[in-house]
Symmetry: C2
Subunit: 274 residues, 2 copies
């Protein structure tokens, strides 16, 4: 087993003095979150306990789970009665029908379902009610804090991100951005990366259309997915077993932007790969 | 137009002293690369000119283009004679048949081709000879340094990464890792992110199977795509117009691993989303 996680730094002098250096650090000691907790207050307190404050241009990312827990977007399996459709999938996929019922409740449609021979439990690829396409409609069993409960995406991740972003901006008197992330698989590549599912004040993508490359030629089609770059980078310093859901980025230059995680979703008619 | 790029840092004191801080910085002043250039020597010199040395655990990523240029994986369009298949696609896609000929030469198969009404020139989704699935078989026109030439992926990106990794490891007497990246679109999400197309000594993914989460429960299916997280993060500090293809990561803890970029490719039978 190979484990990569961030490690203590000793000799940062040279890099810190680099004129274009980005720092990424998890906020230490975020507590276990319960329904009703005020995440803005908690994150501010954890920053201050770590003797950190936020400054203009800082960006925070957070795994969605602490938002889901704070907002009560958690379902106890004992409270779920599966319907006929869930029972049918349960047989096909060797999967708990109550979990499937919850997955279906979060989905606009099931794109594909399968159980490979080596899988104990099958997978449903769903279009989530918010438009995201991912495995099991982002319904998650791990790290729930109690057995037999399922974590959903927050009801409106953009609004959740905006509320905490605004609180922290006022508290620290700083222009910041905030992204809520989830961990997604990819169609053709092994392993998962984090993507943005909620955005506040951050550009979803950077349109380089119209810029010139270093040879003065027009860059025509480049549109880096800025919010997803942030989300993926946060995965480098988050490890699930280490309870560091919130990550601070310092050193990026960006413009405050009205945006939503939906800005990252390709319209169905543009699906290049179907 | 919104532009995000890295900016000078001033008050890093608090973050630098964080016990889990990751720093990401582009290597300044990488020169224009020509065929035959020795990238190991050039990168070492640029690091030293910036008064940086490499230390155990450092990781470098590089956009593939400087490798392609150094290795001569560049085709002058004037030298290409398109065949019948290329001519057929050219008509369908309003695309230069010589460019299509080169795309086909790099591909095992064309998965899909289309031209949307708003596109001037259509797109071919191809399986590259190395197995990557992306637009136009990774054949790229921008930043070539001369008009009418196309940049291909390096012949063997893992071998290219390994050669430079070994040179720099010896030169700085440090255990480092190296990834070569390309910029890919995604099936269902807008915008591009960088992914790893060549790996040296780095784990492709981190298998968390068998680890316990913070509640002592077995984490069953989490496998972060470490090399793709690095690639995506490098995009935050690379901007095409700024000529900073090589990026240094300091502050990650990882184990030296025999790996290849193919380790990131899902076997066709496992394609979850087709």
């Amino acid at each position: 087993m190979t484990l990569a996680h961030s490690r203590p730094l000793d000799s940062l002098t040279n890099l810190s003095s680099s004129p274009f250096s980005l720092q990424i650090a998890p906020i230490p000691n975020i507590p276990e979150i319960s329904e009703g907790d005020d995440l803005g207050v908690i994150i501010a307190k954890c920053l201050e306990n770590a003797q950190l404050s936020l400054t203009d241009g800082d960006i925070l990312t957070s795994a969605h789970k602490i938002f889901s827990k704070a907002e009560g977007a958690v379902v106890n399996m004992a409270d779920v009665t599966p319907g006929q459709e869930a029972m049918r999938y349960a047989e096909e996929l060797n999967k708990d029908p109550r979990k499937i019922e919850v997955i279906l409740s979060q989905s606009k449609r099931v794109i594909r379902s399968f159980k490979r021979p080596e899988q104990n439990e099958g997978t449903m690829i769903c279009e989530h009610r918010l438009g995201f396409i991912s495995a099991n409609a982002a319904v998650d069993e791990s790290n729930t804090g109690e057995d037999g409960s399922l974590i959903l995406l927050p009801h409106n991740p953009d609004a959740s991100a905006k509320a905490v972003c605004d609180y922290l901006s006022r508290h620290f008197n700083a222009r910041i951005g905030f992204a809520i992330t989830d961990t997604f698989g990819r169609p053709w590549r092994i392993g998962q990366v984090n993507v943005a599912v909620g955005l506040a004040d951050l550009p979803a993508t950077i349109r380089e259309q119209g810029n010139l490359d270093a040879h003065g030629r027009l860059l025509s089609v480049t549109e880096p997915a800025f919010a997803d770059e942030l989300a993926a980078a946060s995965g480098l310093v988050i490890r699930k077993s280490a309870q560091t859901p919130v990550v601070l980025f310092r050193g990026l230059d960006w413009q405050k932007t009205e945006s939503a995680a939906q800005d990252l979703l390709r319209p169905n008619k543009e699906n290049m790969f179907k």
